[in-house]
Symmetry: C2
Subunit: 213 residues, 2 copies
């Protein structure tokens, strides 16, 4: 009654290979045949370990979200919470740049022939905001931000970050309005919009930018 067990490595290998193909050759190169070739198996592996190409992509996306989450969680909390917010922004952006194709797939771009995320996937990605929400709460507690809904403020920051990242990856931010320039201005404006003092805001934005990514 106990037949040959499924090789748990194969699923992980497929996800890894898919992420690598996605990163190095773009979404168009992601095919069951290429995957089977690089992993050294047949196309059927995709169907036994996942339901099909869509579900494999979904798994890769989940990997991408945990990657992003780990990156954000690695940002340290200092006694300048506004600088922490800025550092989180840099981390978010750095992660997107390092896994640009993956980021595109994660957030609905790169449709990958009809593939789209489910509500569960999106919900899974939502906890990404946790670190940001915590930082915003600390900004409010430190009376740097006016009292308001920290989740809403985090959403605003997220929206701004996401817009910047996608336009940057799309190649829309060129001299003299590069992504770096716009990032600084954007974060500054958002922090000011949240109620921080202009002078302290500038200082914190500069401090946050100096953090290691």
């Amino acid at each position: 009654m106990s037949p040959r067990k499924v090789d748990p490595n194969l699923g992980a290998q497929l996800i890894e290979a898919a992420a690598r193909l996605l990163s190095e050759e773009g979404p168009a190169a992601l095919s069951t045949r290429k995957l089977a070739a690089t992993v050294g198996t047949s196309t059927m592996a995709v169907y036994t370990h996942f339901g099909g190409m869509d579900d494999l992509v979904r798994a890769v996306v989940r990997e991408g979200f945990t990657l992003l989450n780990r990156r954000l969680e690695s940002v340290e909390e200092t006694d300048d919470p506004v600088a922490d917010v800025v550092a989180l922004g840099w981390a978010y952006r750095a992660n997107a740049r390092e896994h640009r194709h993956l980021y595109n797939v994660m957030f609905g771009g790169s449709s990958l022939s009809g593939f789209s995320l489910t509500d569960a996937d999106r919900q899974h990605g939502r906890y990404t905001l946790d670190a940001l929400v915590r930082a915003v709460k600390r900004c409010v507690a430190a009376e740097r931000f006016l009292p308001s809904d920290p989740e809403l403020v985090a959403h605003q920051l997220w929206i701004a970050l996401h817009g910047l990242v996608t336009l940057d990856l799309g190649g829309y931010l060129v001299e003299p309005f590069t992504a770096d320039t716009c990032f600084e201005a954007q974060v500054c404006a958002m922090v000011l919009g949240a109620g921080d003092d202009p002078a302290r805001a500038r200082e914190s934005v500069a401090r946050g930018a100096l953090r290691p990514v």
Copy 2:
């Protein structure tokens, strides 16, 4: 020495059909064969009128940009320039919602099997910001915004709008932080970040939201 003339209608029909397919059935349904079937021709028409599928998509994207531009240009200039900025934001968002698949293709998402925009395409899309830049200049002239680079401020607004739109289209903005809620908060924060007075900002945001889209 004078060969058979190309039917100029066919190219337009192809673009129109492509836009319709894109809108109604998504990027996955956009194929030379479906196009040929709906227009009533063969797949070769795509290659004689455009260089291939990529160039047809490019043409559709250009159509999309002129559509967006027309939408933004139709926003009237009133004596409340901040409200005009807000109205431009609503118009931008309304256009994206009405042509969601097209918007995704325009801005790098929906890779459509390896397709990506050229620098020329992006440059063609850049004049989209003109209306926004003009409105920001008027805000500065009316001393609602602090003196600064209007283009940079317009970029910031654009980035925030784009982030909101793409996250909205991706289904990431759900209760209680819906796209409407975030939009208001986002625009408010950006306007405040640009230097406007809080009370007048709120008033203008409300006024701009009441404009017909």
